[in-house]
């Protein structure tokens, strides 16, 4: 069979890619340092493929999170040429052959491109991210019209990759801000016709570290690999608080 001719077999490659990666191991270094590497890649390869190349063939100590490699699991958010992206969705042909890679900002770096995401998940948990409905459920499914379902469709897409929160200058300045991702996930329930916890969540977000910190900068919307209209979702929540529009 012809599988051995498929790219990735490293027998045929179109170009050399230069990677400048921000390395840091708190156990052995006082501060981060950029190191340069080269990788063989094709234009249609992912930045993640180049990172794997570096780790597997040049420097095994390089540490980063990854799993599904096609933009669904949300493991590999990082700063690629100054912008928050998923390493598995950014193609070499999109970012060019000189690639600067850093861990996402606003979170403590644990090693190289791995950051402490515990605060991020705490923000997520704080907005009660689960269906709140104390009525006994029907025998079959609760009904919901396609129009009702559409209202919160966008915000169901969130993969908790932290690209948005980590791109927010408000969050960089003050990590007490609950962050775009938490608000997106609150939105998903606030606008779900089957949920009855809207008031509770709106109350939580109606605070100095809640929605009102948002300055409509739009970095979050730009960063989101799922193309969720994050700023719009935050706006929906602000309007719900101001005008009771749900």
């Amino acid at each position: 069979m012809l599988w051995h001719l498929a790219p990735g077999a490293r027998t045929k490659h179109d170009m050399q890619v230069n990677l400048r990666i921000k390395r840091f191991n708190p156990d052995s270094e006082k501060k981060p340092i950029f190191r340069n590497y080269t990788a063989e890649a094709e234009p249609t390869d992912r930045v993640l493929d180049a990172l794997n190349y570096v780790k597997w063939y040049h420097d095994g100590t390089l540490a980063y999170r990854r799993s599904c490699a096609h933009g669904i699991c949300g493991s590999d958010a990082m700063i690629i040429n100054g912008v928050n992206r998923l390493a598995c969705k950014a193609l070499i042909q999109d970012v060019g052959t000189h690639i600067v890679i850093e861990p996402i900002a606003g979170f403590r770096v644990l090693k190289d491109l791995i950051v402490d995401t515990e605060p991020f998940f705490e923000q997520y948990r704080s907005i009660l991210p689960y269906l709140i409905n104390d009525d006994p459920p029907p025998i079959k499914e609760r009904l919901q019209s396609p129009e009702e379902r559409e209202l919160f469709d966008d915000t169901t897409k969130c993969i908790l990759c932290a690209s948005c929160t980590a791109s927010c200058p408000i969050f960089w300045y003050n990590q007490a801000y609950v962050g775009p991702a938490a608000i997106v996930n609150a939105h998903r329930f606030i606008f779900d016709s089957r949920d009855e916890g809207a008031a509770e969540r709106l109350d939580i977000l109606n605070s100095r570290t809640g929605v009102w910190r948002c300055r409509t900068i739009f970095n979050c919307t730009e960063a989101c690999p799922r193309e969720i209209e994050v700023t719009r979702a935050i706006e929906d929540v602000k309007r719900a608080l101001l005008y009771g529009q749900i």
Binding site: G8, T44, H70, C73, P129, P137
Partner: protein, 574 residues
């Protein structure tokens, strides 16, 4: 460090989380996962969860069960299959009640669509049975289950990599895990353990599977002398993006997508006249290989087309938005106007840790359970998928058997005490981690893995024969020798992913062994296991499950019967 919980669940995907939810209020639970839970591979499932709700058209769990039995090429255990298909209906309602945002019909009920191998009235015509949430059903299931776990404050140990099972006197009493962030070893002492660790597609080069899917649970169990069942049956999904492995859901064909060869022919009309492009995956993958081999690939190359252009922009954007995004992002083409290059892609292991219908791990030919040890999901083998799995049935499997495991584990916890741990339970893992760190052999784990993946793709994928299988076994012996000489650059304790990747490679090598030995022994073709030298199904000699055991003198095979309740094996035609 030492931890104690009534129940320890290994793996935080759909099966593990569903079991955790079932145990709420009944037992103290700890969920141990090498990934953060929402990174689990359940999240990438697209097409839907199959259940005979009958929302779009009349349907019946009996028909679903028959389709599954036939889809399994009659190797599935029919009692388990019937149970699964009946309980599938409630499983879907349970998910909706938990908040899962299914796509909806105009009347507000859950939307259902066609899917490969699912028919009405025992094979008459395709039926709309797949309950879906756009093309991100798995994502929604994983999120919803995780959200329920948050609601109920489930204890999670994230980025703790389980590397060993603790057994004392034939009773399961816990697991040993390596904490990724610190390199520290942890002993989890438990009354009951569930393995829900997923598949092992990373054995193959072109796979839909995540990097994390290295068959850890299966290999751990195998190394402890327990058998693995039906390892020779590995499914290749027909429509992975050419060269990339990224999956285009079967749901695309459920919405009306068709497969074309280089001559523009809808070739499946020749191989499956009744249900054509909605034939089961093994049938289609084989057909595709034949088309390519006989020179009818696109421009004579080794791929074919999935054509969605006649579906219209509206259907694609509404019902298949994620896969449209994949195609645009990774191929730079718009599936609304251009066909998608696809090839068969390693996708799902039907085999795994043998269990009964309550998720209890069984350790021999007569299904003797090991007290306290359970398994569910892709890493388990009940067997509900037999020699080939139907689409949408994995999401059903993980919900139904995740729940059943949880129910039985809760009962077990009530009636049992903690079994004392053996001496130095962490010994084996500690030794192997230290060996990998200290080794000076100079071999590269990455190179060995790449060779394994490429050779398995070439010699032991969709089409097999004795010569290629034997050649692969020889290659595998060489790779295993070289593995003993693998050395790593990273000698540290903090996020030492290099040592973990090497450890995972060791797992894959063991599992490849069981696959090859089982495949070589099975001199027939059934489901996903196709032997060019034995191209027909042989029920007289081979209507049985394979069990593979690790022994000091190599792999020992034995067999156990298939449970048949209603449907005697017939010729499998679509």
């Amino acid at each position: 460090m030492y931890h104690r919980h009534d129940a320890v669940i290994v793996g935080a995907g759909g099966a593990g989380l569903r079991a955790a939810i079932e145990l709420l209020g009944k037992a103290d639970v700890g969920v141990v996962s090498k990934l953060y839970p929402t990174r689990s591979h359940t999240g990438t499932a697209q097409g839907g969860i199959g259940a005979a709700l009958g929302n779009e058209e009349p349907d019946d769990p009996q028909w679903h069960a028959f389709d599954t039995v036939k889809g399994s090429d009659y190797l599935g255990d029919q009692d388990a299959i019937e149970t699964m298909c009946y309980e599938a209906v409630q499983a879907v309602y349970d998910l909706e009640h938990m908040g899962l945002p299914f796509s909806r019909r105009d009347d507000g009920r859950i939307g259902q669509r066609r899917f490969g191998g699912h028919t009405r009235n025992f094979g008459e015509a395709p039926v709309m049975r797949s309950c879906y949430a756009a093309d991100r059903t798995g994502h929604m299931i994983l999120q919803t289950l995780y959200q329920q776990c948050i609601k109920h404050n489930v204890t999670f140990y994230n980025e703790y990599h389980v590397l060993d099972l603790i057994v004392n006197d034939g009773v399961c009493c816990g697991v040993v895990a390596y904490e990724l962030s610190t390199g520290e070893l942890h002993t989890f002492h438990a009354k009951t353990v569930l393995f829900a660790t997923g598949g092992f597609g990373k054995m193959y080069k072109v796979t839909s599977n995540a990097h994390s899917l290295t068959g850890d649970g299966l290999a751990v169990v195998y190394r402890r002398g327990l058998p693995l069942e039906d390892m020779e049956f590995f499914q290749f999904h027909p429509t992975g993006i050419y060269k990339m492995g990224i999956l285009i859901t079967e749901g695309a064909r459920g919405e009306g997508g068709i497969l074309l060869n280089g001559l523009g022919e809808r070739f499946m009309e020749r191989y499956a006249p009744t249900i054509v492009d909605l034939a089961p995956r093994d049938v289609i993958s084989r057909a595709m290989y034949i088309e390519i081999r006989e020179g009818r690939g696109i421009e004579g190359k080794d791929y074919l087309y999935l054509d969605l252009t006649h579906l219209g922009r509206d259907v694609i954007e509404k019902k298949l938005p994620d896969i449209a995004d994949f195609v645009r992002t990774y191929l730079g083409i718009d599936p609304v106007v251009k066909p998608i290059p696809i090839q068969p892609t390693a996708h799902y292991g039907m085999g795994g840790i043998p269990t009964d219908m309550d998720g209890r791990v069984v350790i021999d030919e007569v299904n003797t359970p090991m007290p306290g040890f359970y398994s569910a999901g892709e890493c388990a083998c009940v067997s509900v998928h037999g020699a080939n799995r139907l689409g949408t049935n994995s999401l059903v499997d993980i919900q139904v058997f995740g729940k059943r495991s949880g129910v039985h584990m809760a009962e077990f916890v009530k009636g049992s005490d903690f079994k004392p741990l053996p001496e130095d339970p962490e010994g084996m893992v500690r030794a192997e981690v230290e060996r990998l760190k200290a080794n000076t052999g100079g071999e590269s784990a990455a190179k060995i893995r790449a060779e394994l993946q490429e050779e398995m793709m070439d010699k032991a994928s969709v089409f097999r024969d004795v010569d290629h299988l034997k050649a692969m076994r020889a290659k595998l012996d060489e790779l295993k020798d070289r593995f003993r000489k693998v050395s790593v650059e990273d000698k540290g304790d903090r996020y030492n992913t290099e040592v973990m990747e090497a450890y995972e490679l060791g797992f894959l090598l063991d599992l490849a062994d069981t696959l090859l030995v089982s495949a070589e022994a099975r001199t027939e073709s059934r489901g996903a296991h196709y032997r060019e030298d034995y191209p027909t199904r042989d029920d007289a000699n081979w209507l049985k499950h394979t069990l593979a055991y690790k022994t000091d003198s190599g792999i020992r095979l034995s067999y156990k019967p298939v449970t048949i309740t209603k449907w005697e094996p017939k010729e499998r035609k679509y």
